[in-house]
Symmetry: C2
Subunit: 343 residues, 2 copies
């Protein structure tokens, strides 16, 4: 399987993450990419290619133009305001407050566009997000042109990013951008299967009222896991999108036996939809040793996951999402891909 990768993704070098009331080095660190690409090469997964350049047009097809401008300028505005740490929101349009006016003040603007506070902005974040999207679209293009699977080693991840919101380490929704491009290329139906530990709230929200993208997510139940306020089983889509959103919330300590049962259900739903393309939002924070998640998948079980995905029989684009047990992130990620390749 081909991998698309760029060192530019490491331009995101945030120093701080708000975690448990303290500021710690971000769990979503650039080393994740190094360790995955090393493993890709070690097992000989296949050629590693640089991404092409796609510009902002495909981003504008998913994200709000003012949001994109904000991401591009926020760091400079923050520094100009004389603030010393990294940009972290300290207030937001909470319940009982308005969300129809975007403040001029950078502090208020950040709160407007953030959906969470763990994700500090930093210089280079916009460039990294832009490259991450290029990686996703390069992987998609390869799949569209050859029918062969491809792996986009995206960083930053994308599935939490909504039309005009960043957070959960995500800025541009790579999977949504890729799905929209496939549709623009002439496809009628695309399925996005999100197997990251966390609910793909951004992807769900983007396609919630549409029937041309089937979105399915297996994740820690929101009562107990980030992003807490979305990802319940009763969220099934709305309007034309009714029944095209499928959530599989799973409890603390879920092991592969239970997880793969939900996966099989999701696979059955995908087959019934008869999509022309499968995009896998590939997070490996389902791993038993993940420091911020609570499922119990073991390294070797990711191989079986890849096998099951292969059996769907669709052109498949894998896009990297989360995974924070950095030491094992290469093994776990590549296990899914080699499982898919049938090695």
């Amino acid at each position: 399987m081909l991998t698309f990768h760029s060192e530019e993704t490491k331009k995101r070098q945030a120093r701080t993450e708000l975690y448990g009331g303290t500021l710690v080095p971000p769990f979503e660190c650039p080393e994740r990419v190094d360790i995955i690409i090393d493993r890709v090469r070690q097992v000989g997964l296949g050629e590693v290619r640089l991404p092409g350049t796609y510009g902002l047009e495909p981003v504008l097809a998913i994200h709000d133009a003012r949001y994109i401008d904000f991401l591009e300028t926020a760091w400079d505005e923050w520094v100009a305001a004389g603030l010393e740490g990294e940009p972290i929101p300290s207030i937001w349009p909470a319940r009982r407050l308005r969300s129809d006016v975007i403040p001029d003040n950078i502090d208020g603007k950040i709160g407007y566009y953030a959906l969470a506070a763990e994700t500090s902005l930093s210089p280079g974040t916009f460039e990294a997000a832009d490259t991450s999207k290029d990686i996703a679209l390069s992987a998609l293009d390869h799949v569209l042109h050859t029918g062969e699977p491809a792996f986009g080693l995206c960083r930053p991840p994308g599935h939490h990013a909504a039309v005009d919101q960043y957070g959960g380490y995500c800025f541009f929704n790579n999977a949504a951008i890729a799905a929209q491009c496939a549709l623009n290329d002439g496809m009628q139906r695309v399925a996005i299967l999100d197997i990251d530990f966390h609910h793909g709230n951004g992807t769900q929200d983007i396609f919630y009222d549409r029937d041309d993208v089937l979105f399915l997510s297996l994740h820690g139940e929101p009562n107990d896991a980030f992003p807490y306020y979305l990802g319940f089983a009763d969220e099934t889509g709305q309007g034309k999108g009714e029944s095209f959103n499928v959530n599989y919330p799973l409890p603390r300590h879920t092991d592969y036996a239970a997880w793969s049962q939900a996966l099989d259900q999701a696979i059955a739903r995908i087959r019934a939809y008869r999509p022309e393309l499968l995009i896998v939002s590939l997070g490996v924070d389902t791993f038993e040793k993940d420091p911020i998640s609570f499922f119990k998948l073991k390294s070797e079980e990711f191989i079986d996951c890849g096998r099951r995905l292969k059996q769907i029989g669709l052109p498949t684009t894998f896009l990297m999402e989360g995974g924070y047990a950095v030491e094992e992130i290469g093994i776990n990620t590549v296990n899914v891909l080699t499982g898919f390749d049938g090695d």
Copy 2:
């Protein structure tokens, strides 16, 4: 003028405030109370009394019961979850997320009940908030029984706290609790004038659809100042409350000449309402040297402010809100009160 004061308010001893992407010692510090009470004694403002005890019933008349439980137990739940810093929300029911389910997880629960992240929870916060409310009600009782003015040296402040939300250093809305008690005591109309630098979003929200409490707030315009997402001039109340909410947002660098013009407009509106009681949410973060605000009031001008409030001719309860230029907080606060007393 009588002052109600208790050392119990200093049981709130939070260590951290999220400010500009860093964790700093809280601007809303216990020393504020020491400096104000010292000044009260120094100028001989009047007797200083301990508050009575009113229990939680008056709090339940304003705040949600589950919210009160949350405030009482959050610290212990946080510690039990093994989190090391002070409780600070890192995600919340943002735009595009749900707000109809309260998570079980303490991290998600905090985000549900917080409206901002600068206000760390801490052991003792609940007790201090409970005492702060007792101080407000003791000051109110004195005013109701004697017709004489009184000053409740509340800490923590209250005006940002909504029915089920804390933030902006506020937990229980002391002014709202006092107003409701006055109404329960038989009054028909109460006016709350909020002269803190920040918009009193909590108080506004609590009484937004009611005509028995007139709420007026002079504050930094929300486009540019905390709480950013409420406090615009077009928020005039709704339903029966229409026209009983009046906001005076004022721009950066507003001096006393401009500020006192808005104050005079508010006073005219209060007179037209013919209330039986005036509650003043007294913040002195309008001061020119306040570290987190942007008005330009000078210390001696607070005396004139007190004089103008006296001319309304109503039974008046002053309740302490903000003010973070700690060195001058005693002088500025007591200047309002001596101005009112006509010294």
